[in-house]
Structures are given as C-alpha cells and as structure tokens.
C-alpha cells in the first residue's frame, strides 16, 4: 500500500531526468555550437585520388605561435588560425594552397617527448586499409573517423611503432606535380627492419617496392612507388643512430645549406648536417625550436628552370 511518504521511484527518475536534460543541454551547448571543422586538405577541391601518396602533414606543437614564426620565417608559409571544437589549429598555406596543419597540444608531463609531424597517406578505402593494417601488426591510435571538411582518417602505429595516418580526403588529393620550394616533396621511414615495413605498407597501399644499393654499413634503402611515382623510402636505422622508428618528411628547398643555417637563426637545430644524397642534391634534417624534426631536400627536375 502506497503512502504519501513512500519513495515513488518512477516519479523521482522522471524528475531527475528532467533536471538532467536541463543541465545536459547546458553542458552540450558549447560542443554543439562548435563542432570540429578542420580545413580541407586540398583547395580548390580536387577530383584526383592518388593512393599511396603522402598527401598531408600535421604538426602537434605545444606553442603554435612559435611554430608559425619558425615555419613562416623558414619557408614563407602564411597561417590562418582556426578555433574549432575547443581546438587551436592553424592552417599553413603557400602560394594560395594549404600546405600543412598545426595543432596546439600540451607536451605530456613526465615523459621525454618531442613534437612531431604526422604523415597522412592517401588510401581509397580507409576502413579496408585499417583492417589490413590491424591484421598485419599495426595498432589503431585514433579512428577511423569521418571529420567534416577533412574526410575519413585514422592514426596508427605500424608493426615497428612508427606513427602515421591514413586519409581518404573529402577534398581529393593534391596533384602529382613538382613541389614548389617550401612544399613537401618526400617522406622517409627509418626503422630497424625496413624489409618488414616495406611489406606492411605494400599491403596497405599496393606499392611497388624497389631496392636501391645499400650503404657500406649494410643499411637497406627501399623505395615505395604508386601511380608510377616515387612516394617514400624505407630505410634501416643506421648503426649508432639513436632514433626510434619514425617518419621524416622533407620540404623542397633551393639550397639546403642556406636553409639549415636559416633554421638555426630562427631557433631550430641541425640534426643531420647538409650532405649530398643519391639524386645528387643535398638534404638535411633540422628540428624546429620545439623539437619537431623535418627534412630539407634540394631537388631540381630535369629540364626545370631554377628561378633565382
């Protein structure tokens, strides 16, 4: 028998849920008002798709303003800041086109970590590629997730721990044209067992794999190609090298010596001093003032007129 003092659980729940709806709406309002909308990878939108091409790079940095000063001073990039979904993000542009993304993230405490550039590899079927990656020893760090403007992406670590991203861009892929000075031109993966990773990435993006002559210390050098273009290299971590498994992306520069010196003048450091590479031009690896590594690579295409 019910009395006035009996706890009517149904009524209480109903009233509780009304309170929840009220407070929940307040909590959810900012999120709903500011969904994450990252800039498009390609602008204007392209209908091209180049599976296997490294189509975008994104930097996680604890100081986005300092990164803008460094990369703007080094390559002439300009920046368009985007405040979206509680995230501080900057789109880097060169010659009127998006060239990279910068994400502000605090450095994790208690660990010796460095900011890093994340390489995005184009795939036609993102879910399928992630499935293949997981079946072959990769781990998912994020996604797969559809992001407005961006497309569908996932961040993974490969079987040796190198972190990379897969992307099916909703704005298409950048054209297969010669990079301008200041644009990304090349990507290299440096891992203890390049043979294993060459096979892994081949399964993801159906690369053609070529072997180039080894160094005198026995380090291997594989080239990943798709669409009849070279896309990336996979190299052995050299003896004495203290790097972990990592992707390094290279920006095309006219003179690696001068650009390495400019990087230092802007607060960066030189990690690999400029020296000739297989193609005859020089390359170098530098770190920005916050410690993110990137490469500088000279490249002159056959018949190209170099504008001084």
């Amino acid at each position: 028998m019910k009395t006035g003092k009996t706890w009517d659980i149904g009524k209480t729940l109903k009233q509780g849920l009304l309170v929840a709806a009220f407070f929940g709406a307040i909590v959810a309002m900012p999120a709903a008002a500011a969904p994450l909308r990252l800039p498009a990878v390609v602008e204007p939108v392209s209908r091209e798709q180049h599976p296997g091409k490294v189509v975008f790079q994104e930097l996680a940095t604890p100081d986005i303003a300092a990164a803008e000063r460094f990369y703007g001073g080094l390559f002439g990039w300009t920046f368009r800041e985007v405040q979206t979904g509680g995230l501080k993000y900057a789109e880097a542009r060169l010659d009127g086109h998006p060239v990279a993304g910068l994400v502000q993230k605090d450095l994790p405490k208690g660990k010796e970590r460095a900011p890093a550039w994340l390489s995005f590899i184009s795939v036609a079927d993102l879910d399928g590629a992630v499935k293949v990656a997981l079946e072959n020893g990769a781990k998912t760090l994020f996604g797969p997730r559809e992001l407005p403007n961006r497309g569908k992406e996932a961040v993974l670590s490969d079987p040796q721990g190198a972190v990379f991203a897969l992307l099916t861009s909703s704005s298409g892929d950048p054209s297969d044209i010669l990079a301008l000075y200041g644009e990304w031109i090349w990507s290299s993966l440096v891992v203890p067992d390049p043979d294993k990773d060459a096979a892994f990435y081949q399964k993801l993006a159906d690369y053609e794999v070529f072997e180039l002559p080894s160094g005198s210390s026995g380090t291997e050098h594989f080239l990943l190609a798709s669409g009849n273009y070279a896309r990336a290299s996979v190299n052995t971590t050299p003896p004495g090298g203290k790097t972990g498994p990592l992707w390094i992306n290279f920006v095309r520069v006219e003179k690696a010596d001068q650009m390495a010196a400019r990087a230092v003048a802007l607060g960066g450091t030189v990690l690999v001093a400029p020296r000739p590479d297989r193609h005859g031009g020089k390359l170098a690896v530098v770190a920005d003032p916050q410690g993110a590594a990137l490469g500088l690579m000279e490249w002159t295409a056959a018949g190209e007129e170099v504008v001084k």
Binding site: G16, F22, V27, A116, N228, P238, F250
Partner: protein, 102 residues
C-alpha cells in the same frame, strides 16, 4: 526527495556531458593517444652513404640492387624479402616533374 532528484539528475547530466563532447577524437584534450613522438636528441647516425632520397628519373632498364635473375630494379625473384618486388626490368619511378596549372 529533492536531494534524490538532484543526485539522479546530476549523475545523468554528467553522463550526458561525457557523451556530448565534440566528436573529434585525438584532437581533444585528454584523448589517450600520445600525440608526440619520442625525443631522440641530435644523434641520427646518418653517415655519408646513408641515402634516403629518391633516385633520378630513368628511361630504361637499370641494374641497381640485387637484380635477381632478370636484372632491373627490385629483386626479380632473386631476393628473400617479405615484400613483393616490382616486376623484373621495371624502371624505377621518380618524383613528379610537371608544373602547377594556374
């Protein structure tokens, strides 16, 4: 009674709040993925013959690498790698060389 309503309401609201954050994954603060790379210091160990770049454009067949039984790039069936080598005799691709259309 009011206390119970408030408790239930608060718990439900907090739960709803957790679900209602923007659907942005690793771009969110607090997402478990450690966004950063390792700190390796300046010792990359790249000696003078440690090459990472692409080769130059090649029009014909070349005999880099082990060559295998067929020659050309890759192994042509002569290697013992985990990956599938490019077809025997296949010219090694290089970087795009065309200009941007304006």
């Amino acid at each position: 009674m009011r206390a119970r309503i408030l408790i239930i309401g608060t718990i439900a609201a907090l739960a709803a709040g957790c679900v209602a954050v923007p659907d942005s994954g690793y771009y969110d603060e607090g997402y478990p993925y450690d966004y950063y790379g390792g700190y390796y210091g300046p010792d990359y160990g790249w000696g003078p013959d440690f090459f990472v770049g692409p080769g130059r454009e090649h029009g014909g067949h070349h005999h880099f690498g082990h060559g295998g039984e067929h020659g050309g790039f890759g192994h042509g069936g002569g290697g013992s790698h985990s990956f599938r080598s490019a077809p025997a005799g296949r010219s090694m691709p290089s970087l795009p060389s065309g200009g941007r259309h304006r």
